[in-house]
Symmetry: C2
């Protein structure tokens, strides 16, 4: 004698929904904090660059591949970041077709601030939910990522 059908995703709490909610929350907090700390130009899309750029610099195409974006999309993001002095884009000495993208001082400062804020938020959440559970969560997320990669 069911009163209301539990057949809708919100109640069903799919794994996807469970992952999405905290991710969104975290993301929102983080970028708001970065804006407050003097990096207001950075939007979530730009993380595609910051996540993958190498300390010695990276090529546009390389970044595009790592971020799973087209070269055009990556070029768009990089143009914006160059304009706002987060990266510099110069010629690649080894290949006249290619460009070398490097973090500027400001770009490095942004990453440092983002990492610090992220760790602080994680630590605070850890205090609330328990550090052991947070550690379990991390391990389980790594395992999940691995498991999904092995899926047929």
């Amino acid at each position: 004698m069911r009163v209301s059908p539990p057949s809708f995703p919100e109640q069903a709490a799919t794994l996807g929904a469970l992952l999405r909610r905290p991710y969104r929350q975290l993301s929102g907090r983080l970028y708001a904090e970065m804006a407050a700390q003097g990096f207001p130009e950075i939007r979530p899309a730009h993380s595609a660059v910051f996540r993958h750029i190498a300390p010695e610099g990276s090529r546009l195409t390389e970044l595009a591949e790592l971020a799973d974006l087209t070269k055009q999309s990556m070029a768009y993001l990089l143009g914006y970041l160059e304009e706002h002095d987060y990266v510099s884009i110069g010629p690649d000495p080894a290949d006249a077709r290619a460009k070398r993208v490097r973090l500027t001082k400001r770009g490095n400062a942004f990453i440092k601030a983002l990492l610090a804020a992220s760790q602080r938020i994680e630590a605070e959440a850890g205090k609330i939910m328990g550090r052991a559970k947070m550690q379990q969560l991390r391990e389980a997320l790594v395992a999940l990522d691995q498991a999904i990669a092995e899926l047929p």
Copy 2:
């Protein structure tokens, strides 16, 4: 004597990164499968509707609030879904200004298929990483979501 600075997010594995990766993977697989199963029109943005729509139907404004979107954005998504016969949009008998959005047969079929695929993928991943760990993961994700909500 550090050789390469570990100061970049990809290596740092922030909690955000750990959540994002499997979420993206899951999402990608799920929508590809839905397309293969006869629902090619549905894109991730539309989940904002399916996640929140009530069995008896919902109002546009209500859906917008639940999804944390503007009414205009929700109207855009609903228009598309109505065109493709996933929802019907009719007048609300209780309020002449309002509209009532209901899932069509096709909309219900989509949700059913999405849920089934999601559960199947989760079960398969569970077989690989261990069902106990998957259960731990679910619990930890709920705890994390709760903890983030309690953050200052």
